[in-house]
């Protein structure tokens, strides 16, 4: 084989492998069911919840979150010790390859602290999720109010 052919073959191999290598966390992670809980009046913080699904084979890590709606956004978890709830910041949330991470009440969540203006139902909160490979993804999470009515009652009071 002539040297130029080797170079061409190598270049081709490199190019062919590029689309795979270029898959970032932002490419393989999709966000479903994202929402921000409408905070009660005077509550300085609220939670954003969602499911992060990873279509790639590699484990990815959510390492930060940012939102123009809040002064601070942090990744938090809850530890339960005999009924005592301990909320703690966490450095990262892992999303297993071909797996998912569930951010839900009482567990992992993105904590929004010091909202710039009160959030009410119907608002949409932009959140930028940053992953460990440096890629990021922006989502818009609707604000949802907590359910204050008895489930299944639908106003049926005697």
């Amino acid at each position: 084989m002539r040297p130029t052919r080797i170079v061409a073959a190598a270049a081709f191999a490199l190019l062919a492998s590029l689309p795979v290598a270029a898959q970032t966390a932002a490419d393989t992670i999709s966000i479903v069911d994202a929402y921000v809980r409408a905070p009660a009046p005077n509550a300085p913080a609220t939670g954003a919840f969602m499911v992060l699904k990873n279509s790639g084979a590699t484990e990815r890590r959510l390492v930060k979150a940012e939102s123009p709606a809040a002064r601070v956004a942090e990744l938090h978890d809850h530890i339960d010790e005999g009924g005592v709830k301990k909320m703690r910041p966490v450095a990262a949330i892992a999303i297993a390859g071909k797996g998912e991470a569930v951010l839900k009440p009482g567990s992992l969540h993105i904590m929004l602290i010091d909202m710039k203006k009160p959030l009410t139902e119907g608002d949409s909160v932009p959140i930028t999720l940053g992953f460990d490979d440096g890629s990021s993804k922006r989502i818009d999470a609707p604000v949802r109010k907590l359910q204050m009515q008895m489930p299944g009652m639908s106003g049926m009071q005697h």
Partner: protein, 216 residues
């Protein structure tokens, strides 16, 4: 001192410090700064509950003024973004599941264990957001500690490196107080509203109606 001796002393010192560091790294286990408040409370002891007077935006709230009613009591703080709102929403759901007649015989109290940040004015709107029946109260550190002890609740201020400031680890039971002012049930976080309604109805039926009218 001869240079040989000096260097010998020096190397001895270095060796001693090194040995101390190795010992510390492997064997030194500092005592945790006192266990969680719950640890002091043996599980076998059933909390006695008891009367209390705390402050709300509308004036003092005294349990003894609520004789004849079933009282729901919850400890939390407004900075809590998740557990407290979830519990309070369930309390609101339970209240919404009662008939108007039952509702008149029920009170709900949200006790903030974070009086440093939660003023009674803040607590008023915060609590009422969930249900107009829920009254937000707080007190001095001593009053809160005594109340929590009485009900077997626990809370502890913790610096956890959040940019939002300290958090308060807290137990997350909803307490039900019967019409005679006695602690009747400690319902764990996650207890569904229909179950709470059942408990309230049981308590409303169980005790003969106390003279609520006489108390005004």
């Amino acid at each position: 001192m001869r240079p040989g001796v000096r260097s010998a002393i020096l190397s001895l010192l270095v060796a001693a410090v090194g040995a101390a560091m190795i010992w510390a790294a492997f064997f030194w286990q500092p005592q945790p700064p006192a266990g969680p408040p719950h640890a002091a409370q043996p599980l076998a002891s059933v909390p006695a509950g008891g009367d209390f007077v705390l402050r709300s935006a509308g004036g003092p709230v005294a349990l003894k003024d609520m004789r004849g009613k079933v009282v729901m009591l919850y400890f939390g703080y407004t900075f809590c973004p998740d557990i407290c709102p979830t519990s309070l929403a369930v309390v609101a759901q339970a209240l919404s599941g009662l008939t108007a007649d039952e509702l008149r015989q029920v009170e709900a109290i949200f006790v903030s264990v974070d009086p440093e940040r939660d003023t009674v004015e803040k607590l008023k709107d915060y609590a009422a957001y969930f249900h107009p029946k829920i009254v937000g109260v707080t007190g001095t550190a001593e009053e809160l500690a005594a109340l929590a002890r009485g009900y077997g609740a626990s809370y502890r201020k913790q610096e956890v490196g959040s940019q939002g400031g300290y958090v308060v680890d807290h137990s997350s039971f909803t307490y039900l107080i019967d019409r005679r002012g006695g602690l009747a049930a400690s319902l764990p976080h996650g207890t569904a509203a229909p179950r709470i309604v059942e408990e309230i109805r049981r308590l409303l039926n169980e005790t003969p109606a106390a003279p609520t009218a006489a108390r005004g």
